[in-house]
């Protein structure tokens, strides 16, 4: 809208269509592969419970585990050094290099080393550092940040990579990945054989037996660890688990959840310097904010992260900005939290702001990290907040007539006149008794009062006595934009109001999800608040609709509904409508990019997120696109109009009234829906 501007450096990530396509390809391949590969482990819910437990148990006594590991290593002639922060880790590693005359250090992929800025630190002091993972090597030679956790150079075409290596080798290299790979193999082989020092990160450490487990597919990690005479392992303090079984379970889950690979090509397990006399083995254990995070009731969850990247593959923002745009060093939503832990809140907030809060990430995390909630937590703790955002959120949270979302919407021309509840009050319809409560929600009430009225009349036609209240905001904007105390105030207030044992019905999935959210905080105290969406209610009541004529329809499942698995019931309801042909498409469950204020704050990103949906809609050209959340509805309508796609978009209530047939609808006089 009028005030915000997407920063130019972010826009530049959106401009290259080829990169976006590559990112999409990677994401969809990994997402599809993931489900297939995971099937062999049984139910994902069981897997993530077990792995969460493995990590949590180990974290609780991590120091104990590490002291065991330290003793064991020192009895075998290896060294364990703890580093309190980035600088001390860098210095420790540099000292090891000095001590052993290492002027060339070969490295396996290690995001922990990026966290401490190791390459730059060593290079400034005359130690040459060479990345050996092919993707990391490409990125290193281009002097860039990785764009993807698993495929760091996904943003480059083979032609660009060929050009890079033609320059590097001083000869013409064809744009053939096989040829390029073999050239790099030969080049790095010499480095492996001549380097005195090799460094890698580590995937997991077990304390009993004391062992370090390193996973690679290319086979570079094991060469870094075993060919040079000095082996350095850099590990975060949180990487520890108790046993061999625990470590192997993690190693089985990781590649499956990450890229859909059953098991990595190479799992190397080190328990000691393996040629006793000539070899040195150092383990550097990095704290850098981790121990403090363990004491933090929110951020401690992030310490379970096994860096599988699944949360990024499903993230709509990551898919359009890549890991370069949506990161500080750590990428994606979980990256914002890791940035908060390791680099501070200011940097973290910059990343966190880019999150739409869709919650897709939470669903795929193998250790049950509530990622999107932690991102909100980062926002709520940041001190240097976006002033404009604060003002806007403040406005949205109010529901009086002069300062409310309706006012903002009036500015934008989507405001439709008298809010539903104001009208209902005038008609004397507000009351706190009845069969069901109806929570209208501010966007529905103020921007789509006619839709709200239709829903109300439908309930009445169904013979329900409807309790209606003067409403307070559900508090979602407060939660999403980091005003936690306001969220809790509104939550308690709403819980109090609707705690009457009756179902509370919603026609906005954002409000619905927020009520579910409060219950996850206060469920024990408020067992008599029963939120349900209107459509689940209709399904349960057995109300049957059919369409006046056959129609091909696509649906957009709002993320907030999906987060509570409500999409399955919505799908059942829609499938129960006769004469409706539902076009199934994976993008039906993708974020639309609207996300409340998000689309005003980052219009270009929001538009880019919508692209995949637009493509699908253009391809199938349904007669209608339906959804059940006003914010998604607005986004879809605006985005399609902007692209000149002539497809009708409906809130499901409006769709039923316009195209549906049902005894109930007949009993509602059309004139009822036209208010003065």
């Amino acid at each position: 809208m009028l005030f915000w501007k997407t920063p130019d450096e972010l826009k530049s990530y959106l401009e290259n269509e080829e990169i976006r396509e590559a990112l999409r390809r990677a994401s969809s391949r990994f997402v599809e592969g993931r489900l297939k590969a995971l099937a062999s482990l049984g139910s994902f819910d069981d897997v993530r419970k077990r792995l969460r437990d493995v990590k949590e148990k180990a974290l609780e006594c991590a120091d104990l585990h590490w002291s065991r590991v330290r003793d064991e290593l020192s009895s075998k002639g290896a060294h364990l050094v703890e580093a309190e922060d980035a600088l001390s880790a860098d210095s420790i590693i540099y000292e090891i290099c000095e001590r052993h005359g290492i002027d060339l250090l070969i490295k396996g992929k290690s995001i922990t080393s990026e966290e401490i800025g190791l390459n730059a630190f060593l290079e400034e002091r005359g130690v040459e550092v060479i990345e050996t993972d092919l993707g990391e090597r490409i990125v290193q030679l281009f002097r860039e940040k990785p764009s993807h956790l698993i495929v760091p150079a996904i943003h480059h075409t083979k032609e660009e990579v060929a050009k890079l290596f033609s320059r590097y080798f001083g000869e013409e290299i064809p744009p053939d990945p096989y040829v390029i790979t073999k050239k790099v193999r030969a080049d790095l082989r010499e480095k492996f054989l001549s380097a005195r020092g090799g460094m890698t990160g580590i995937n997991v450490v077990s304390s009993e037996p004391c062992a370090f487990y390193l996973m690679t597919n290319e086979g570079n990690g094991r060469l870094c660890s075993t060919v040079p005479s000095v082996q350095i392992i850099l590990t975060g303090w949180e990487k520890i688990v108790s046993s061999l079984e625990d470590a192997l379970f993690l190693l089985k889950v990781l590649p499956k959840n990450s890229v859909g690979l059953d098991f990595s090509s190479y799992v190397s397990i080190f328990t000691a310097p393996f040629r006793w006399k000539e070899r040195e083995m150092y383990v550097v254990v990095l704290d850098n904010g981790r121990k403090r995070a363990l004491e933090d009731i929110h951020f401690r969850h992030a310490l379970r992260c096994i860096r599988c990247g699944a949360c990024m593959n499903v993230c709509p923002v990551y898919q359009v900005l890549s890991g370069q745009g949506f990161s500080h060093i750590y990428m994606g939503g979980i990256g914002a939290v890791w940035t908060a832990i390791t680099a501070g809140l200011d940097e973290a907030y910059k990343v966190a702001q880019l999150c739409t809060g869709c919650g897709s990430c939470n669903e795929v995390c193998p250790v049950e990290i509530p990622i999107s909630h932690l991102v909100s937590e980062v926002k709520s703790r940041a001190e240097k907040r976006d002033l404009l955002e604060d003002v806007a959120v403040g406005l949205v949270l109010k529901r009086d007539r002069f300062s409310s979302v309706a006012e903002i919407q009036r500015l934008m021309g989507t405001y439709k006149g008298e809010p539903f509840l104001v009208w209902a009050k005038g008609q004397g319809l507000l009351k706190d008794s009845g069969d069901v409560n109806f929570y209208v929600g501010c966007l529905m009430e103020q921007c789509y009062p006619e839709t709200a009225l239709k829903a109300y009349l439908l309930l009445r036609a169904l013979g329900k006595d409807v309790a209606l209240f003067e409403e307070e905001c559900c508090g979602l904007p407060a939660l999403a934009y980091g005003r936690k105390s306001e969220f809790f105030r509104l939550g308690l207030l709403n819980l109090e109001r609707y705690a009457n044992g009756r179902k509370t019905l919603f026609i906005c999935d954002s409000c619905y999800s927020t009520f579910r959210e409060y219950l996850s905080f206060f469920a024990a105290e408020k067992p008599d608040v029963v939120p349900e969406t209107l459509f689940s209610f209709l399904l349960r009541e057995g109300v049957k609709f059919s369409l006046k004529e056959k129609m091909k329809v696509m649906i957009h499942f709002p993320c907030h509904l999906r987060a509570w698995k409500g999409d399955e019931e919505l799908e059942r309801f829609v499938r129960s409508i006769d004469n409706l042909e539902l076009v199934e498409h994976p993008t039906s469950r993708h974020c639309c990019g609207g996300a409340g204020l998000y689309k005003y704050k980052y219009p270009e990103i929001s538009r880019a997120i919508f692209d995949v949906k637009a493509e699908a809609i253009k391809k199938h050209l349904p007669q209608a696109v339906i959804t059940t959340c006003p914010s998604c509805y607005q986004q879809i309508k605006e985005q399609l109009a902007e692209r000149g796609v002539d497809v009708d978009v409906y809130h499901l209530v409006d769709f039923l009234f316009e195209h549906g047939r049902c005894g109930l609808l007949d009993s509602i006089r059309f004139s009822d829906t036209k208010r003065q």
Binding site: T181, R185, R222, L248, D262
Partner: protein, 154 residues
């Protein structure tokens, strides 16, 4: 399906090849000249494949090693190293041939490793070395072998 058959299926699904006999192996190694092998295997290799000459591991095109066991669950081969330089044999050459006894098949990685954790370095190898780092196009043999061939010992 018995364990052995299950292992063979999984092993080949990860990109591994199986040589049913020494003569089959010889045909799989067409065009190869320089080999390196574990001490115990050197005699056998030299006498069975007269087209091969022994060289240092880093010069070798093909290596011959003995695997400790095969794992049904993942189709992996497990190696534990004791003599110097042995680990390079599984890592450096373009082709890696591993000998394994049919009796040494374990159902899970846990079982395969439980007796090996006193070794300084163990590797669990599953298929050839691979990458998809350039445009997600699969390429075999990045830093490790591009072919992993299993030959039954018995």
């Amino acid at each position: 399906m018995d364990e052995l058959a299950a292992f063979v299926e999984k092993f080949t699904s990860t990109g591994g090849e199986i040589a049913s006999s020494l003569s089959h192996l010889a045909s799989l190694l067409k065009g190869v000249e320089r080999f390196a092998a574990e001490k115990e295997l050197r005699g056998l290799i030299a006498s069975s494949f007269d087209f091969l000459t022994e060289v240092e591991p880093k010069e070798a095109q093909v290596s011959f090693t003995k695997a400790v066991c095969g794992v049904v669950e993942t189709g992996s081969l497990v190696f534990a190293y004791s003599a110097e330089g042995e680990h390079l044999l599984t890592a450096l050459p373009r082709i890696h041939v591993a000998f394994l006894s049919r009796k040494r098949i374990c159902p899970t990685v846990e079982q395969a490793l439980s007796s090996l954790m006193d070794r300084a370095y163990v590797s669990v190898i599953t298929g050839p070395s691979k990458t998809g780092d350039i445009e997600l196009i699969h390429v075999m043999g990045v830093h490790g072998p591009e072919r992993l061939i299993l030959c039954w010992e018995d």
